[in-house]
């Protein structure tokens, strides 16, 4: 199984979970059907024309119906965003396999899960809505609830216990490490350049190579650069996890982010940045580190609020081997690789686990707050939205591309604060993909259908699709796709003692052949040629032979033949041996030698010779021996 991501956009259908009681949210009117029927008004609330489920947020799990997940042997994880559904799979499906991921992926993935669990568990909600999921009722609901798919499979958030159990099933791997999977294939993680520890995977046998490229970046940010060279010579390259916003250039967006931040703060407003506790935030803090002095923002406090803020900032500093070259060299100086250490030291950046406690006493405005969750449905961000939403001086800047910012803002309407959308997605865009594919030259590319056509809203943008030769094979949800290659060869090892016994004969300069008589031993998808057991000496029947000691009958082996038959010489030989009235006919594949007198036909082709005579075995054997004279035997 390749990756194990969690679709969190389902949470956008739910009301936010406020950290402190919100009169506005609790007083929202219940929703009733057009005919006035109000039986759903406890479950559904209306806010500014949108309807939301008033319940604990639920998540959309990966497809579980198509295959029996208990039969999955291995899960390969690309990056920490792509493992958020892991507890659902490992704990509730009978999964008994192994999960492979790099150390930073596991550690930061743990932080993301911990934050998620914490956000949801710390504001327990008594109510759980399920009535609306009834298919007959769902039909009557307004969009987008009406169009939500697979709502019956939506699940509440997992617990910390489940997280720990899931993570315990992960086997840590390092870049370029070769991992044998049941002898059948070897898998290798490669740096994908997107996030700390993010990986692309190579799955290869001795003769076939499949690359799985997911969430990769060619931009110079904090992680180790993408390893492109190792992806070369792939039979198939499975490509996914491209940028979600191909039209937004990350550089431009960072500039936009800084400009809007400065503009707001200079006018006395506060800036709210809904974000994940790891990833782009490191780059944003680095940009701000360079920018705040130049923009005269040195006195503005930057707050990072997350239950895992401290761990995230500290983890980033210790994964030196997973960082880009510049940051790695800093470690040897020794200096912290990320400049947020200095921001913390100089008190420009302060981090808190929650807005309760120390934060309340330190809090000073105007300020910039980084906090989660980017969906605006849970986490400390909900409080800041409620607190700052009423003033047009304040700004919320969306940098995470996973959620539609308009949908995220829907339950906060009407909103006076300014909203800026600066999605920063450093993953590959289509131009970079073209360059990558030209460089790597896989025989076939396999990708989601969406990548093979321009976005529906911009159908003229031929640049916003994968353009490669041969055209990429696309797949859609629940489609079963046969990868375009066949396994034609297996590698077989030969035991040294058997190899010693071989007597090769040179049949062409540089090419030697030898016949082998051996036993092919196959176990765990590995094939070994072993010397054949010696024929057992007759023991005089004193000892009974056990059935397991039986060896296959070693028949007298016929020699192998090679070479070609020169027709003219063969005819001459036939004549010498008394055959007359010989006629030779050329055919498409070779020749036919007709012995008219003997009513016999010798069919000579490139890879076969047939002697067709009418029940005259003696003649056939004579002729066969004449044919064999022209061939080499082993």
């Amino acid at each position: 199984m390749l990756d194990c991501g969690l679709d969190m956009t389902s949470t956008l259908n739910f009301l936010p979970l406020p950290l402190v009681q919100s009169p506005r949210l609790s007083n929202l009117p219940g929703w009733s059907l057009k005919d006035g029927n109000a039986f759903l008004d406890k479950e559904l609330k209306e806010c500014s024309g949108h309807v939301f489920v008033d319940s604990v947020p639920e998540f959309c799990l990966p497809e579980t119906e198509l295959i029996d997940l208990s039969t999955v042997d291995v899960i390969l994880i690309s990056n920490y965003h792509c493992m958020m559904a892991l507890p659902y799979i490992t704990e509730h499906t009978g999964f008994t396999g192994t999960v492979y991921a790099t150390e930073p992926t596991v550690q930061i993935g743990r932080l993301l899960m911990e934050e998620l669990v914490n956000f949801i568990e710390r504001v327990p909600k008594a109510q759980s809505a399920s009535l609306w999921k009834n298919k007959d009722i769902q039909r009557l609901l307004p969009s987008p609830l009406k169009d939500a798919v697979e709502v019956s499979t939506w699940r509440r958030c997992y617990t910390m216990q489940e997280v720990n159990s899931a993570l315990s099933k992960i086997q840590l791997v390092g870049y370029s490490q070769k991992i044998e999977l049941f002898g059948a294939v070897q898998v290798t993680p490669l740096s994908s350049g997107y996030a700390l520890g993010s990986s692309n995977w190579i799955i290869q046998s001795h003769y076939e190579k499949v690359s799985y490229v997911s969430g990769s970046s060619l931009l110079t940010t904090h992680p180790q650069p993408m390893d492109q060279a190792s992806l070369k010579n792939s039979d198939v390259l499975i490509l996914t996890g491209l940028t979600q916003i191909p039209t937004a250039n990350p550089d431009g967006m960072v500039g936009e982010f800084c400009s809007n931040l400065a503009l707001t703060v200079r006018n006395g407003g506060n800036v709210l940045v809904p974000c994940y506790p790891s990833g782009v935030i490191y780059d944003l803090l680095e940009c701000l580190y360079q920018y705040i002095d130049s923009a005269g923002l040195s006195n503005i406090p930057f707050y990072f609020i997350s239950p895992v803020a401290n761990s995230s900032l500290e983890f980033s500093q210790i994964f030196a081997e997973w960082l880009c070259h510049n940051k790695q060299t800093k470690v040897y100086l020794p200096e912290p690789p990320f400049p947020h250490a200095e921001l913390i030291q100089t008190n420009k950046l302060k981090h808190y686990p929650s807005l309760h406690g120390d934060f309340s006493s330190d809090f000073r405005q105007p300020c910039v707050v980084f906090t989660g969750h980017p969906s605006l449905r849970f986490g400390d961000v909900v409080h800041f939205m409620e607190l700052w939403g009423k003033s047009s001086l304040n700004t919320v800047i969306f940098t995470e591309p996973d959620f539609s910012y308009l949908e995220a803002l829907a339950p906060y309407q009407p909103l006076a604060m300014k909203c800026i959308y600066c999605p920063i997605d450093t993953r590959l865009n289509f131009i970079q993909v073209s360059k990558l594919l030209k460089e790597v030259q896989p025989l076939h590319v396999v990708c989601p259908e969406q990548y093979t056509q321009p976005p529906p809203a911009q159908s003229h943008r031929m640049d916003l699709m994968i353009d490669c030769q041969p055209p990429a094979m696309s797949y859609r949800r629940a489609e079963v796709l046969a990868l375009p290659f066949k396994r034609r060869y297996e590698k077989i090892e030969i035991m040294p003692e058997l190899a010693d016994a071989l007597v090769p004969m040179e049949i062409k300069p540089g090419i030697s052949l030898a016949t082998v008589s051996a036993v092919l031993h196959t176990k765990d998808n590995k094939h070994i040629l072993q010397p054949p057991p010696r024929p057992t000496q007759p023991t005089g029947g004193k000892k009974r032979k056990r059935a397991s000691d039986d060896i296959p009958d070693c028949k007298v082996l016929k020699p192998l033949l090679s070479g070609s038959i020169p027709v003219e010489q063969f005819v001459q030989t036939l004549e010498k041996h008394g055959f007359s009235d010989i006629k030779v006919e050329d055919t498409a594949k070779g020749h036919i030698v007709l012995l008219q007198e003997a009513e016999t036909l010798i069919q000579i082709e490139e890879d076969s010779t047939h002697i067709i005579c009418d029940n005259d075995e003696m003649l056939r054997v004579r002729l066969r021996d004449l044919v064999l004279k022209f061939l080499q035997k082993f």
């Binding site: 039209t247 800084c258 931040l261």
Partner: protein, 839 residues
């Protein structure tokens, strides 16, 4: 030649002729040659050689087989040419057979030295100088030089090849000169042998299949028609035009670029009657045969011609517009009612050229836009000018580059993919769009206002502003593109029609401005300093034009722009600080720098800008912001800015004190400019005849001269000016000198009213201090000066002499020929230790 130089010359010639003493520096030889050229221009070369036999010896000596450096050999060839330019001297050198030995087969031409490009170049330049008289022509013919020049046209060194071509043109002109004077007949058959040989060679080259040879021939012809306009050139063209025309029959047309140059050169030549020699037909034919990329420059050239048949102009204009017409067609837009653009649409060659590759597409579009931009302001540009379709094309191109256009056709989608994010096309299109704002033809005046007209243009102008705003808003616009977008926006705002009798922005333009200001606010906070700087420049331009207008003022003051601008005074980038200083100075002058008055400093806010600017002047580590502050202060003083007018003397004293200590000479020079303004204002009414008088002065001095000079003394203007007089930077000293001379002239007629104390102790001490300053010891201040002392000192200092000395170049002492010769000798003498330039 002066005797000193004559004395040094033999030694120098000996050094030059000695291969063991190589001359390290080429520039010395160049200067030496220049000097000889000056001497020979002024007098007889023959006399010079006779008086200085060492020169002929040098020329003879270089011919000896030896290991002489190529630069000396090249120099000698050029020197010989300079001397032989005068016919008597030529004859003199011929007597000794020196010239054939230098320029003929026996000379470097046949030797190993010929492999050096500098020698070949020297040989050509020598002949170029020499070929000034009929004897030279015979010489060239006799020594077979012309054939060598033919071969040098294809020399591996571009300099040599180009010089060879030019020499051929020169020789052709020289030989035809004699014909034109002596023979009225212009038949080609009567031409001198030399000219016939050259023309024959050109014809042969034009027949050739080798492109380089054709290019050489075309280049020679281009230069000929460009430089020589005698009647024979028409005969030459009539003779060669069929050959030139035959080039068009080849596919692809060889040396198309050179061919275009030639045809335009012929068309521009006043010596040719274009209509009688079939030139227009050839031009029309060429336009049809060249590829769209090659035809563009020719089309532009044709359209720039003053007298040209209308049909040809129309054809050229169609060719020029074709790429833009293709863009419009590909994006499904109607090129509009213009016949010109309509007829330009169907060219499949242009479409192919556009779509062949990104580089070709970008190149063709950028060239087209640049050509049209050049054409637009010319009086001879095509009429009617298709303003609307051109605007539409520029807007469409900008949309294609942003991906905001949605073309329906395949060609359009392909174009979109090629142009997406292309900064070059964006820049060119924005420049062109800005140029189109200048349009003042019937289109603009047709309906009073762009925005209020009933149909057509107003929609386009709305689109123009929309696309400009799109660019200004886009996070993906590169800093250079943004700068161009700001410039184009300003030009369009500027061109919006004004209500009669009112300079304010037109109502729709004001709406645009209201959308623009939030964008500007954000750009002023950009992390990229170039963007902040462009934003400030844009604001400066706007404030300069509409700072006094109510609509603009209201919109600006309602925005955060002034406040943000003030914060940029502390920007880490010095260019931005400088721009912010300029804008703030201007905003303040216009009364647009209004910050909320704090209770602690009622009414003190305006002062704070002055204090802040003074702070920048005294402490900023970079020169640009300090220079900008000085310019703002000067402008404030001129405008009688309230902050300055309140206590001008204190302001002046403070600024001059800070400026005098500035390490940047431009700040000190600007300080003198400020001092001059103050001086003019102070003395303005004292002498109403002063041409620089500013009226009304701030503090009109009514009393006698001494009283008038008192404020200048109080602000220590004289100490500043005298100190600047001996400034180590010449422009400062010159400016100070001018200022003091101006003051002396102003006070001259009135000095009688003052009790001069020329011999008094104060004057003596000031003069002594000045002498010390001149000597470099500027430590001691002058102290408080009395007007009388100042006047006395002004008269005692030799300001005219000083001005004269300052007007001389800093190297005027070292620039003499004698110094050059001495330096060359000295350099050679100490070559081992010092290889530096002799200057």
């Amino acid at each position: 030649m002066d005797p000193e130089c004559s004395q040094l010359l033999p030694a120098l010639c000996a050094v030059l002729a000695d291969p063991r003493q190589p001359v390290a520096d080429d520039t010395c030889l160049e200067k030496l040659l220049d000097w000889f050229k000056t001497i020979t221009k002024a007098g007889s070369s023959l006399l010079l050689l006779q008086e200085n036999p060492c020169l002929v010896e040098l020329l003879c000596h270089v011919l000896k087989p030896q290991d002489l450096s190529s630069r000396v050999l090249s120099f000698s060839l050029r020197l010989a040419g300079v001397f032989a330019a005068q016919e008597d001297c030529f004859q003199y050198l011929q007597q000794g057979e020196l010239l054939p030995r230098l320029f003929g087969e026996p000379g470097p031409l046949g030797g190993a030295a010929w492999t050096a490009p500098s020698v070949r170049s020297g040989w050509i330049q020598g002949l170029r100088s020499l070929a000034q008289h009929p004897s030279a022509l015979h010489f060239l013919a006799d020594c077979g030089a012309v054939d060598t020049i033919f071969s040098l046209q294809g020399d591996s060194s571009l300099f040599v090849a180009s010089a060879a071509g030019q020499l051929l043109v020169h020789i052709l002109g020289l030989s035809m000169q004699g014909l034109a004077e002596g023979h009225p007949s212009l038949q080609a058959g009567d031409w001198p042998v030399c000219a016939q040989k050259i023309v024959g060679h050109i014809e042969e080259s034009l027949h050739s299949t080798a492109v380089p040879q054709i290019t050489q021939a075309l280049n020679v012809l281009t230069t000929t028609f460009g430089h020589c306009h005698d009647p024979w050139t028409q005969v030459l063209w009539v003779r060669l035009s069929p050959l030139v025309g035959s080039l068009l029959e080849k596919d692809p047309v060889p040396a198309a670029h050179s061919l275009v140059d030639l045809l335009l050169s012929v068309a521009r030549s006043p010596g040719l009657s274009s209509s009688s020699c079939g030139l227009w037909e050839t031009l029309a034919q060429t336009l049809n045969h060249l590829s769209p990329t090659q035809a563009g420059p020719l089309a532009l050239g044709i359209l720039k011609l003053q007298d040209c048949p209308q049909v040809l102009r129309a054809q050229a204009f169609v060719i020029l517009l074709q790429p833009l017409a293709c863009v419009l067609k590909a994006t499904g837009q109607d090129p509009g009612p213009s016949d010109v653009l309509d007829s330009a649409t169907g060219d499949s060659l242009t479409v192919d050229a556009l779509l062949s590759s990104k580089a070709a597409c970008v190149g063709l579009l950028c060239r087209t836009l640049a050509h049209l931009e050049l054409l637009q302001p010319l009086p001879q540009r095509p009429c009617p000018w298709p303003q609307e379709p051109l605007l539409g094309a520029a807007v469409t191109l900008l949309q294609l580059c942003r991906g905001s256009a949605s073309p329906a056709s395949d060609v359009g989608r392909h174009l979109c993919a090629l142009l997406l994010g292309c900064v070059r096309v964006q820049r060119a299109a924005l420049d062109f769009l800005g140029t189109l704002s200048q349009e003042t033809g019937p289109w603009k005046g047709r309906v009073g206002s762009f925005f209020m007209s009933v149909s057509g243009p107003q929609e386009l102008v709305t689109e123009v502003f929309a696309v400009l705003l799109e660019y200004l808003r886009s996070p993906d616009s590169s800093p250079t593109v943004l700068k161009k977008a700001f410039q184009a926006t300003f030009r369009w705002l500027l061109s919006s029609p004004k209500t009669p009798g009112c300079c304010d922005l037109e109502p729709h333009a004001l709406l645009v401005l209201r959308e623009l200001l939030p964008v500007l606010q954000k750009r002023l906070c950009s992390p990229c300093w170039e963007v902040r700087d462009s934003g400030l420049e844009f604001l400066t331009q706007m404030t300069r034009h509409w700072g006094g207008q109510a609509g603009f003022r209201h919109a600006l003051l309602a925005s955060e722009v002034p406040k943000l601008t003030e914060q940029l005074l502390r920007d880490p980038e010095s260019y931005v600080r400088a721009s912010a200083v300029t804008v703030m100075g201007q905003l303040s002058s216009q009364g647009l720098h209004v910050t909320p008055v704090s209770p602690e400093h009622p009414g003190g806010q305006q002062k704070s800008l002055l204090v802040e600017l003074l702070h920048i002047l005294s402490t900023d580590s970079e020169g640009f912001p300090r220079r900008a502050v000085m310019q703002v202060f000067t402008q404030w003083l001129r405008d009688h800015h309230a902050d300055v007018a309140g206590d001008t003397e204190q302001f002046m004293a403070r600024v001059l004190q800070v400026a005098s200590q500035d390490l940047d000479w431009e700040v000190r020079a600007q300080g003198l400019e400020l001092a001059l303004v103050f001086l003019e204002q102070t003395l303005g009414q004292f002498h109403s005849h002063c041409p620089y008088a500013v009226t009304p002065p701030v503090a009109a001095p009514a009393g006698p001269l001494a009283q008038a000079l008192q404020p200048l003394c109080r602000v220590r203007l004289f100490e500043f000016a005298f100190r600047a007089l001996f400034d180590c930077d010449r422009p400062v000293a010159q400016k100070s000198c001018d200022l003091l001379l101006f003051l002396r002239a102003k006070t001259a007629s009135s000095s009688g009213s003052l009790q001069e104390s020329r011999s008094g102790p104060d004057v003596a001490s000031v003069e002594a201090a000045l002498q010390r300053w001149q000597a470099g010891d500027q430590g001691q201040p002058l102290g408080d000066l009395e007007p009388e002392v100042v006047l006395a000192v002004l008269r005692s200092v030799d300001l005219e002499g000083l001005r004269g000395a300052l007007a001389e170049g800093s190297d005027h002492m070292e620039k003499s020929p004698q110094s050059l010769l001495q330096d060359m000798l000295a350099t050679v003498g100490v070559l081992g230790e010092n290889e530096a330039d002799c200057y």
